[in-house]
Symmetry: C2
Subunit: 364 residues, 2 copies
């Protein structure tokens, strides 16, 4: 089947996806936390429904295009987990008004809380807490958190954090420590607000590593994770998954042999794979992805060593590979960072059983 | 006008684009070479028509989606400058048959030349020569070049090369040496074929730096270049353009201040800017792009120092920037590598005069 597809294209292994989704739900259920899958990874209604167990329910998004698309598809509780600003208020109002779905917003400044309050928007809002990742959010003890809550008034619905620093180590003990610090920071901010008389029904943390490895999720009401649906070499190199968990691959064609230079060329380059090399921090030979057998998905030992816009270059030490990988047939590539690879402009997934599932890329 | 746009989005300065296009045409005309602009950079019919001087004529593409789109838009001589393989033959035939336009193909192996010959395709074909970039192509003296020509027979229309190694230096003398080697390799391959009795009407070289800096284009019939239309910090750092030549910027909103961590956050991250850091080789403070003034496009001295999928993090050494760049208003970002930034999923350009031009992204 795969040999009839035009390349490059995304191949999604439905069985692996189902297994990954089921395992995360089974992880969350006994811990009493709602799973709010982050659909910035799949950007697909079909995948998101598998993540939520069939019903289009509670998800996280990181673009308004996603919010719009998933609200129209019936997802009824959507968290836009990127700081909101006034130039996005009109579209937020149109999405919420047009679909009747709940679009929750995120703020970490008094200025934006005041702007929301003054705007007439009725969307529930979470306050973002910086638990050490130093991207968005306020420290859990920052006095501004109380000021924001006062400005939001009845729109306040909770607090949220994201521990991006969980990717700084491949030792699960370190990941656990980051996760526990994230849980503590989110709970600390929520408890402070409750002590001041605010209702804080949602305490949200997230990232696949911290959800899986936190010692204790007490106090946390929901978790956000996305990459667990697909996994990739970044997660494998950090010991968060096995190779057999990786559900997403890029199908690519061998388009040339440069025997004089010692390499072969693929039609998957910087756009198809992304230039993300974060996997290499803990898997130095990950390069831009691993070539694997099209049927078994076992790694070949070859990697995409360099990328141009549409060309991938594979260093070939043993000339036997020119016989094993002739020009014309396809190979599959295990991606370094599946979120960015999938967003490379494909627009759709080809399932291994032949189904095609659309993606919602971009911001339009 | 810009403050009414939803961010992130691409802003294209039409005056700078026109100037860049005019200058390249003025460079090529007295040298007697046809300019075959590479539309993998703009992926836009509107931009390509400016590049070709108004008439939809001679262009280079690197995806079949581009070939299809530009052929339908009337471009009548299209070179698909990526090695062709049989799983793309059907679409090539549909594009050429459906539009009546010429789609030229590229090969660098006897196997693919034989496959084309056996396929019934009637597309003209160029043989790719490796002039030192060691991506695609055969060395100019490789005996396979003659074998390929024999397999192609009347389909042979020329030779082409691409000197990717022109980006390995910021010294224009080095660029000139690379360009001269590219010219020599392309001419050498063409001359060999002519000595063997083949007709070789096209001798094509390309890359913005080598086209601009070759000492002598004698023997070359056409040149391919794309980034000169937009330019970027990669080209600026390599002394190929000035800052005032850069026509493409990303409009982004300041979405947060993390004073405790010493940074501010933008809604332009890895998808909006790409993770290409090639500009940093010769411009170490390029990071993921430079913040510039929305009106004057003068650099502020700030850069996007880190990117997550939808977040860009800007390190702020002087707290005065929190006053100058409050949360809510927009800034513009000079991109590190415009080809990849523009392909980030935007789908369109916003011209500074309000026009909107669509892009053709992906492979579908």
């Amino acid at each position: 089947m795969l040999d009839t597809l035009e390349t490059p294209c995304l191949i999604l292994d439905g069985a692996r996806l189902e297994k990954n989704a089921t395992r995360m739900r089974a992880h969350c259920a006994p811990r009493g936390v709602i799973l709010r899958p982050h659909v910035k990874t799949p950007k697909s209604v079909d995948v998101a429904k598998i993540a939520t167990g069939g019903r289009p329910s509670t998800i996280t998004v990181s673009t308004l295009a996603e919010a719009d698309h998933f609200a129209r598809a019936g997802f009824d509780d959507i968290l836009y987990a990127v700081g909101i600003t006034p130039n996005k208020f009109d579209r937020i109002a149109r999405i919420a008004g047009g679909t009747g779905k709940t679009i929750r917003l995120t703020v970490d400044s008094v200025a934006m809380a005041a702007a929301i309050s003054a705007s007439g928007l009725e969307n529930p809002v979470l306050i973002e807490v910086d638990c050490g990742g130093h991207r968005g959010g306020l420290p859990a003890d920052a006095p501004e958190i109380s000021d924001i809550a006062r400005h939001l008034g009845p729109l306040l619905c909770g607090v949220m954090s994201h521990a991006g620093q969980s990717y700084a180590s491949d030792r699960l003990d370190d990941v656990r420590a980051v996760a526990d610090a994230e849980v503590a920071a989110a709970n600390r901010a929520a408890d402070r607000l409750r002590e001041e008389g605010f209702d804080v029904p949602i305490v949200s943390i997230g990232s696949t590593p911290t959800v899986l490895h936190a010692t204790d999720l007490s106090g946390i009401t929901e978790v956000r994770a996305g990459i667990y649906l697909f996994y990739d070499l970044s997660q494998f190199g950090r010991n968060i998954c096995t190779l057999d968990d990786i559900a997403l691959t890029v199908l690519s064609t061998v388009i040339g042999h440069n025997r004089a230079a010692g390499n072969l060329t693929l039609d998957a380059g910087a756009l198809a794979l992304s230039k993300d090399i974060g996997a290499n921090t803990f898997l130095p030979d990950a390069h831009y992805g691993w070539l694997c057998d099209t049927e078994t998905l076992q790694p070949t030992g070859l990697a995409v060593n360099a990328v141009h816009q549409e060309h991938g270059t594979v260093t070939v030490a043993d000339p036997v590979w020119y016989e094993r990988l002739p020009i014309g047939p396809t190979i599959r590539i295990l991606p370094g960072h599946a979120c960015l690879t999938a967003a490379g402009g494909y627009g759709r997934y080809h399932l291994t059983d032949g189904r095609i599932w659309p993606r919602i890329d971009g911001w339009g």
